[in-house]
């Protein structure tokens, strides 16, 4: 039984890492209705920029600010050259545009900073310790703490500030938001910048975990089932979805994988998400879409 709990807790903590990426999606989806496939590329871009600056001897906090500035410039560019010309197009078109965007950002990141793997040391010891007979990774707990504070910061930002209010207005009803004088381009830039910030945080944690390398951009593929399960429009959903995906894929790998052969982590979340889709298409926390005939 101890083993079961150990796998479960390990999975839950790994799920937090998925949630971190998924939050970036939710932000953009809420404000502009775009399923942003380029979020993974943004994570890669942010992490690569940060590490490359750090390796050139720039102090940690300055690196963070500079990368943030780069992400804001990126957001400005995306708004100007991708979102604005594609306004009012179908969600599928926008999705495919972000697919193209992810190619551009990945190419750009590696063109600028090279394709080699960088190590990243955040100064957190990754020594396991034991609580109640269960091994826990210190790093995973740290990541969970970061995710929690990120959610708190974001919900304060969304609920208590003027900008957050306008973001929610746009998410609620774009036309009405425009009518009361909210500037859509500005909102888009802010949202994409915030998503860039979340991407940076996720990139740092993932980078410290697995090294800063190209495969970071592939975590977008893990975030998709998380979103389906949690719902596209809810930050809490992203967290819960991440926990479910993380826990179930580790449990499946251990208990199911030993029966039908290992390596099922890659597709299991998708099958799970598919099951959720068939029963609850809007996800656990998503808004139910009402279709009129």
């Amino acid at each position: 039984m101890n083993f079961f709990f150990e796998v479960l807790v390990g999975g839950l903590l790994a799920g937090v890492m998925y949630s971190l990426v998924a939050i970036g999606f939710v932000l953009i989806y809420k404000a502009s209705g775009v399923f942003n496939f380029a979020q993974g590329a943004m994570v890669l871009f942010a992490a690569l920029t940060f590490v490359s600056l750090l390796e050139r001897g720039v102090p940690f906090w300055l690196c963070f600010l500079m990368t943030l500035a780069v992400m804001i410039v990126l957001a400005l560019g995306i708004e100007r050259w991708v979102l604005a010309p594609l306004a009012n197009r179908s969600p599928i078109t926008l999705f495919m545009a972000t697919l193209g965007l992810s190619y551009v950002i990945e190419g750009l990141a590696q063109l600028l900073w090279g394709a080699q793997v960088h190590g990243l040391e955040l100064g957190i010891k990754d020594e396991p310790f034991i609580i109640g007979g269960i091994f826990l990774s210190q790093f995973d707990l740290f990541a969970a703490g970061i995710a929690l504070s990120l959610v708190i910061i974001l919900s304060i930002f969304f609920n208590k500030t003027q900008i957050g209010l306008s973001l929610r207005a746009v998410a609620d009803d774009t036309l009405a938001a425009l009518a009361v004088g909210i500037r859509l381009p500005k909102v888009w830039v802010i949202v994409w910048s915030v998503a860039g910030f979340v991407g940076l945080v996720a990139g740092l944690l993932w980078g410290a975990r697995v090294g800063v390398q190209f495969s970071l951009s592939l975590i977008v593929l893990k975030a998709l089932p998380v979103l389906i399960i949690g719902g596209f429009t809810s930050i809490e959903g992203a967290i819960v979805g991440g926990l479910i995906v993380g826990a179930s894929e580790k449990l499946a790998e251990v208990y199911l994988g030993s029966v039908i052969g290992g390596g099922i982590e890659n597709w299991f979340p998708y099958v799970l998400a598919l099951g959720f889709l068939l029963i609850r298409p809007a996800g656990l926390f998503g808004e139910q879409a009402i279709e009129r005939v």
Binding site: F35, W81, V82, P85, L86, R89, P91, I92, T93, F95, M96, A97, L99, G100, L101, S102, Y103, V104, I105, E106, G107, L108, Q110, L111, A115, L221, L224, P225, I228, G261, G263, I264, N266, W267, Y270, V271, A273, L274, L277, L278, P281, E291, V293
Partner: protein, 356 residues
Amino acid sequence: MLFTEAGQLATSYKAEQKLFRLRQDYVAFGILLFLAFVALPYWGSDYWFNAILIPFLVLSLAGLGLNLLTGYAGQLSLGSAAFMAVGAFATYNLELRIPDLPLLFSILGGGLFAAASSVIFGLPSARIKGFYLIVSTLAAQFFIQWLFTKFSWFSNGSTSGVITAPPLVMAGYDFSTPVGRYLLTLSIVASLFLIARNLVRSELGRHWMAVRDRDTAAAVMGIPILKTKLLAFGMSGFILGIAGALWAFTYLGTVEPHGFDLTRSFQILFIIIIGGMGSLLGNFLGAAFIVLLPILLSQLIGLLPANHWVDIGQLENAQKIIFGGLIIFFLIKEPDGLARLWQRCRERARIWPLRY
């Protein structure tokens, strides 16, 4: 004028339904077929067959498979490469396990297996739509790749899942030379395109387009939505499966499951975005673009004076940026792709020298 249509009127319903309504189209198509089947095999070099023409044809066919599903029936799929893999591995196994089966039948059988798997992963489209469907197709992508890597039965005991082409012999003829492989590919691709051309203007094709344009309205009109969608998945899977078999056997010769990964699915999606969704010609244009652009780019880099910062890895990144940028460009400026540009040229030529 060369392009005048004046006087070519249909006087019967049968004439209206002809494959090529215009004499010019008929003649042009005949010349094209002659060029492809007779002139090119005569003049082409092995490099052209191996590196350009065969991949171009196979990718056009794969584009067609996805285009039927995404461009005509409106169901977005990111799992095309998986169904290509099913086609390739099924063909290989049919050849291996039923020794007397003619090659053409194994390829068709591979297509049927791919169609069946495509229908299975298309079943969720009964309840979900739009980009939610990419979950189902991505599940197919990862699951099928895992299946072929994990279970070496599919690759006859090879630990890394590598399969090698059977001898390409059909009715006593050996098609293993570059020209032979080209002709084999061309014949299959041409006949499948002919079938597709007839399919999209049949009742089923119109059903697909109705479902794509507005599924609710289509349902109200009495079109069986689920059946239509599943037929689209099946047909798309069939064509993708054959494309996969050709990719493995006439183009590469040996292939592993990794050769059919997500990147390949994206590549096929890019073909139909650049070429034109809901267009048959677009598949060829998009595939030509995808095959030729990397070659063109490396040639261009070669022309530059020797500079130290351009290396091969960088070239790949530059290529990525260009592809991504082009995708965005096409979605913004020409959502109907290169095929629409061709259409415009035709219309312009029709009324030339007048402007409108």
